[in-house]
């Protein structure tokens, strides 16, 4: 668990291997999974999620989008979400990378990787982090459509996805 810090000397919370990155650059989920696994031979399960830009949304074509965020609060919010997941499940590593700036359809937006001894915890913590990221992390999407620019509205289903973790 501590070993992986030597491979990924990134922003850490609570002295653990929690890492959060907010960046314009793309990321490579395969490389991150390999780095995490190499660092800790007690890991048996790595669940991950990648969100990508879709070419249409809410019935309209989308040629590109720009992600605005709140520098400082963004990192803080993501770290808080990851810390909650670590309190709740027995995970070794959790990494969140979220991009900002202009992205096109097919581009990667966000990556969450969670490593644990067994798959149940890894899946649960990964989905938990994504659900709360969708409602708690200060990012806003502005889409370029044939009808012009438009800000994406928050989805009610995202609130429901985050709510359900409070009752289990």
């Amino acid at each position: 668990m501590t070993k992986s810090l030597f491979f990924r000397p990134l922003l850490a919370v609570d002295g653990g291997a929690v890492t959060v990155r907010v960046q314009q650059d793309n990321f490579d989920v395969g490389r991150e999974i390999a780095a995490i696994t190499r660092g800790n031979l007690a890991i048996g399960a790595v669940a991950s999620f990648v969100g990508t830009v879709r070419a249409s949304n809410d019935g309209s074509g989308v040629s590109a989008m720009t992600l605005e965020h709140y520098p400082g609060m963004t990192e803080r919010a993501l770290e808080a979400i990851v810390a909650q997941a670590r309190d709740r499940w027995d995970v070794f590593d959790a990494l969140v990378v979220h991009r900002y700036g202009r992205l096109e359809p097919g581009d990667q937006i966000v990556m969450v990787v969670v490593a644990s001894a067994h798959r149940g915890e890894a899946f649960a913590a990964c989905e938990f982090i994504m659900d709360f990221l969708k409602t708690e992390a200060p990012f806003w999407k502005k889409e370029e459509t044939p009808q012009g620019l438009r800000w994406v509205d928050a989805r009610e289903t995202d609130n429901c996805a985050a709510e359900r973790w409070k009752t289990t």
Binding site: L67, I109, M130, K134, T135, P138, W140, K141, A154, R155
Partner: protein, 84 residues
């Protein structure tokens, strides 16, 4: 009491600015009261009106309406988030 206010996303566009310093009038000591105070500025600030969906953060933490304000606080207003 002086605070710094930030506006993001569609809200930033509708109010026509991204940040300001504000000397809080007497009695404006919570996020909710600040919101009402800003709403009273006029039509350009309609997004702050009662019933409009708006989120706030104080010192980079999500903050409900009853959150107290203090000297030098960074207060941010923005629409519900849509990242991920």
């Amino acid at each position: 009491m002086v605070i710094r206010i930030l506006y993001f996303a569609s809200l930033r566009e509708s109010v026509g600015q991204e940040a300001e310093e504000l000397v809080l009038p007497e009695g404006i000591d919570t996020v909710g009261k600040l919101r009402s105070h800003i709403a009273a500025r006029g039509a350009q600030w309609d997004a702050f009106a009662v019933g409009k969906t708006l989120r706030a953060a104080v010192n980079q933490r999500m903050a409900p309406a009853d959150t107290a304000l203090g000297e030098g606080d960074e207060v941010a207003f923005f629409p519900p988030v849509t990242g991920g």
